[in-house]
């Protein structure tokens, strides 16, 4: 290398090293808030968590969040029961009839729907379900969460089912299986581990969804007697307590945040495990 080239190259090498350094700084800056949020949630939450937190209903000093925990579990189960089967059906249809105009349009609108602010889902469920039933209810909250889940589940199913090789479909069809059998017993089964993992991630996502519940499930100081009553949830209760100037309630909110974050992370880890296990093909 000539000296001029040599010096030009060393300049570029310096620039490259600088860029690498800058990107490392960006990583540190991005992880700083993660560490900060975690540290606070774990330390303050662990200090505030106690047995009454899990067994006493919402109230003044010494109370817990038992009814909010039950409420969140109720809503998430009900929402999953509505959103997951419908989402898988829709996703399977999108994959099996991938080239039709309907499939293209729905795929696009699912992507857009996933970007619509979840609070608007709350407004819609309010307009349709709450106004119709004339009261806030756990059912309305679950419906809102199901709508949030729907595009997530459908698009995951779609992506994974489309990744199933066509040779498997052709083999099934050549053996005389009908299309629906092929879809349900060959395509869906092949893609199942990934779909299960996608569904868990969707469940994790709605465990933390708060905005669509504010005026659908609303809030309740007591256990709800039925799904037609308003119900308290961990998410909404965290927000309510955040907005008060009361230290006891802040402590309760930290404890609830710890429980919520723990649930979300456990679901995420299990989802990843499922995905890693799938390999046998």
């Amino acid at each position: 290398m000539t000296p001029e080239l040599e010096s030009a190259y060393s300049g570029r090498k310096l620039a490259s090293r600088f860029a690498t350094g800058a990107s490392s700084v960006a990583v540190v800056l991005a992880l700083l808030p993660l560490v900060a949020v975690f540290a606070y949630v774990v330390s303050r939450g662990a200090r505030a968590i106690s047995i009454p937190f899990f067994v006493e209903p919402i109230g003044e000093r010494g109370a817990g969040m038992a009814n909010a925990i039950v409420g969140t579990i109720q809503l998430v189960f009900l929402a999953s029961a509505m959103g997951i089967p419908l989402g898988i059906m829709a996703g399977l249809y999108l994959a099996e009839y991938k080239a039709t105009r309907l499939a293209r349009a729905v795929r696009f609108s699912a992507d857009v729907l996933a970007g619509v602010p979840s609070i608007l889902v709350g407004v819609v469920v309010y307009a349709v379900v709450v106004v119709w039933m004339k009261q806030f209810s756990a059912f309305a909250g679950a419906a809102a969460l199901a709508i949030v889940m729907l595009p997530l589940v459908a698009r995951t199913t779609d992506e994974l089912a489309r990744a199933v090789p066509d040779s498997l479909r052709e083999a099934a069809l050549a053996l005389g299986a009908s299309r629906w059998r092929t879809a349900l017993f060959v395509v869906l089964r092949t893609a199942a581990p990934g779909i299960r993992s996608g569904c868990l991630l969707a469940v994790a996502r709605v465990c933390g969804e708060t905005a669509p519940l504010l005026f659908t499930a609303y809030n309740n100081r007591f256990y709800n007697d039925s799904l037609l009553d308003p119900t308290s949830t961990l998410q909404v209760q965290i927000f309510t307590y955040t907005m008060t100037p009361n230290d006891d309630w802040h402590a309760q909110a930290w404890a609830a945040a710890l429980v919520l974050v723990a649930i979300v992370i456990v679901l995420g880890v299990v989802a990843r495990r499922l995905l890693d296990e799938k390999v046998p093909g």
């Binding site: 991005a30 970007g115 609070i119 307009a127």
Partner: protein
């Protein structure tokens, strides 16, 4: 079966023998149609949800659209008790918080994405990638709680007094911690994973041959990024930023917790403000009158139009970028 039987293959009947048919084989046509119809129904329902959102939000908003007309988006007086509704302050708050958040999150998010695809040491890429995804998994309310009880006091005691020394229209006014700056910071934290992971995918879709070609010609990693990767992926990166905008505009709970909840228009970042999504979150559950609900729904309608526009544009850009990369690979 013996060897000889195999040597002369029997002529197959046109239909498999009865013993080899399984139940429902001959009737698969109608079952297929049912399956197709059910699937189409489910998919159609999914498509209808989007239209349903638009129609039902517009329907509740209708009384307000009639009452306020165009002044709804040009005035900023929001007084539910007198029935006067102007949403300009919310639009302003949304634009200001999203802009500040993007100014912070875009360079950092892009830096993280480049670290994950080109610049960082390979053995660090996977753990960093998982950690960034963890950042996206934390619920919005938890960020709200943290911002209100931890971040806002830090801003009040140390950051904002320091910024106030710089002065200027951005950094002055009351110092309470809660306000536009706090909301923007927490928004930036929440946008980061979106921008980082979508741009990472877009950058990864740039064909390896292009990178290798550049490196083989003597380019440093940064040269390859600057001259080959980024120009190739620019539409997709722009799409990632637009997706970030969509998230910033729609993010509700964390912002509602710290934005200060006052319908004012002020250029100061210290001042309390309001955003479109957070005013719906705070006032919709306690709305006093039909018109108040309608006005909040109209804010929702604005929010819907804005987020859908950004998302559609972003999806088109990202899809086109990934497709052109795939085409170059083929």
């Amino acid at each position: 079966m013996t060897q000889r039987a195999l040597a002369t293959p029997p002529r197959l009947p046109p239909q498999p023998p009865r013993s080899l048919r399984f139940a429902g084989m001959g009737k698969s046509g109608s079952a297929d149609r049912t399956f197709g119809a059910l699937g189409a129904g489910a998919a159609g329902a999914l498509g209808l949800v989007l239209i349903g959102v638009a129609v039902s939000v517009a329907r509740i908003a209708w009384p307000s659209i009639q009452a306020s007309g165009f002044s709804f988006v040009t005035t900023s007086v929001w007084d539910p008790s007198r029935g006067v509704f102007g949403a300009l302050a919310f639009v302003w708050g949304t634009i200001l918080t999203s802009t500040v958040a993007l100014i912070l999150a875009v360079p950092i998010g892009l830096g993280v994405a480049l670290f994950l695809t080109d610049l960082g040491p390979p053995h660090l890429r996977k753990p960093v990638s998982s950690l960034v995804e963890l950042l996206a998994a934390i619920p919005s309310v938890v960020y709200g709680l943290w911002a209100a009880l931890v971040l806002a006091p830090i801003l009040r005691t140390t950051v904002q007094p320091a910024l106030a020394k710089i002065g200027g229209p951005l950094f002055r006014g009351p110092n309470v911690g809660f306000g536009i700056l706090c909301a923007s910071l927490v928004l930036a934290i929440m946008l980061l994973p979106t921008i980082a992971s979508v741009s990472r995918d877009v950058l990864r879709a740039v064909p390896a041959e292009l990178r290798e070609g550049a490196l083989a010609l003597g380019a440093t990693p940064w040269d390859a990024v600057r001259l080959v990767v980024l120009p190739h992926a620019r539409h997709g990166v722009f799409g990632a930023i637009l997706l970030g905008v969509g998230r910033a505009v729609g993010e509700t709970m964390a912002v509602a917790a710290v934005v200060g909840s006052r319908a004012d228009i002020s250029p100061s970042l210290f001042a309390p403000g309001y955003t479109m999504s957070s005013v719906i979150a705070n006032e919709f559950p306690v709305a006093s009158s039909e018109l108040h609900i309608a006005a909040l729904a109209e804010v929702g309608l604005l929010l819907f139009v804005i987020t859908v526009a950004f998302n559609v544009a972003a999806r088109i850009l990202v899809a086109r970028s990934n497709k052109s990369a795939a085409g170059a690979q083929a």
